[in-house]
Every structure is written in C-alpha cells, then in structure tokens.
Symmetry: C2
Subunit: 160 residues, 2 copies
C-alpha cells in the first residue's frame, strides 16, 4: 500500500485517488517549469513554457483535488528530466531534451484527464466537473501539439 | 548528473541516451506485465496484456539499445501502478486501475518513440532504424487504442 493512498473500493474512490494524484502532479509541474524556462534557449520554447506555467496555475486553482495522494509517476518523470538536462551544455541539445521531457509530462496528464473524464461520465458526476476536465484535457493536448511543432520546425534541425 | 547517464553533447548522444532509457523501460515493462496479467479479472484485458507482453518481448529483441541508462520515469510509473493496485480488492475497480496504469506506460512509450523517430530522421540514421521505431510506435498506439476500447466498452460500466 502506498503511504499516501487510502483503500480504493469503488470507481468513485479510484476517481478521487486519481484526481488527487493529478492535483499533486500539476503542483509538481508548477514547481518544475521555472527551471525549464531558465534552461530553454529558444525564445519560442521559453514563451511556450511560460504560457503553460500560467495555464497550469489557472487549471490547478479550478481542480477539485487535494494533496492527499502523491504521484511516483510524475516524481519519476521530473527526476528523469532533471537527470538528462543536468548532463547537457549545448543549448540546442538542451531544447530538444526539454521538449521531450515536457511532452512526457503532457502525455502523463493526457492519460490521467482522459481516464478521469471517462470515469466522471460513467459515475454521472456533476457535468461541470466533466466540462472542466475536458477543457483541461484540450489545453494539455494543445500544449503537446505546440511542443511537437517547435521540435520539428526549428529546434531539432538546429541541433542536428 | 544521473548515476547512469553520460555527458550528452550532441543530438546523437541524446538519441542514444533516450534509446537506452527506452530499452530499460521495455525490460521493466516485461517484468511488470505478468503481475498485471495475474491481477486482471476481465478475460479480454488479461488477453490484451498477454499479447502485449509477447509483442514487447519481440520489440526489445530488435531494439538496438542497452541497459546503459535507467529511467526514473518508468520506475515511477510502475511504482504508482503497484501502489494503486495494492489498495484494490474489487475486481472491476482493479481492471479500471490496471487499464489507466497500462495506458500511462503506453503514453510514456509513445512519447519516447515519437522523439526517437524525429531525431533519427534529423540525424539521417539508417532507414531500417526509423522503420523499426515506426513499427514499434504503431504497435504502442494500437495497444493504447485497444485499452481505451476495453475501458469504455465494458469494464468501466461494470465497475460503476
């Protein structure tokens, strides 16, 4: 049993546990993004991270979760980002590594919000919850698409 | 600097580091899947995990990586899956939790293979490498779609 996790007996419990893990993850990302902004070399990438930090801060204020669950997954994803970027000096290689690290975070979040929405619909929760989660999922997907565009259009080409 | 990571000076280095982290992750998944097969209640889910185990064992044999890099990200994703499923007795809730855990793994892999393909193309690596990575990416995406189908069609409905 995880130290922070309560027994999960129903899908409601699983929904709440996952919501809380996502809340924890979003706060962890808010703490990680300023360092990523600092490490980024490309101005468009810096700007994309800044925008996503503001977006995430707004999302987490609306999210009806709590710090009741940790998330070893997001801890590990951010640890891997720290490990890899600590080994890089070249600014173009750094940007390529930052993009893949940020996309790992986005993919984790897309997975979590996707499941939360499916469960919220099954559980017939307040439609405002579904609507909020759906809006956030859309923003995470848009952030992922933007990172792919930045990677393919400019940064990887310079780095190669 | 991560204990297992070498200095990353070029996109070639970043490609090799990420390839090795992915190789480590695939092996970690091969170790985790038998427990997930055992924990799964729904026969179609059990079958999907069995198929994915065989697929992953085949993929990793072809992958030109090594154990030279660890992956705190996949360690954390699998730790979170263990923590959550250890807290669950109800077989339908277990299946819902296993699906979201497996999809977290798929999303991590889709992210890694997507980046590896982009870098391999930029670096003009042997087209057979790109072809192999592209085939594997397709299989990971198909596994993700299958899990979503299982989740939405049957398991979540029973669990709710």
């Amino acid at each position: 049993m995880g130290f922070f996790s309560a027994d999960i007996e129903t899908v409601d419990d699983l929904f709440m546990h996952t919501l809380n893990a996502t809340y924890y993850a979003e706060n962890k990302i808010i703490n990680a993004l300023p360092t990523m902004i600092e490490k980024a070399d490309n101005d468009m990438l810096k700007q994309a991270f800044k925008m996503h930090l503001e977006e995430t801060m707004r999302q987490v204020k609306m999210l009806p979760g709590s710090d009741a669950a940790g998330s070893p997954a997001i801890d590990g994803i951010i640890q891997e980002a720290d490990d890899v970027t600590s080994d890089i000096d070249n600014p173009f290689v750094m940007d390529a590594a930052l993009i893949v690290a940020a996309q790992a975070v986005e993919h984790y979040e897309i997975n979590r919000y996707g499941s939360l929405i499916a469960w919220a619909e099954e559980l017939k929760l307040d439609p405002r919850i579904v609507s909020l989660l759906t809006q956030t999922l859309g923003e995470e997907k848009a952030a992922d698409v933007k990172l792919t565009q930045l990677a393919t259009q400019a940064i990887n080409r310079k780095a190669a």
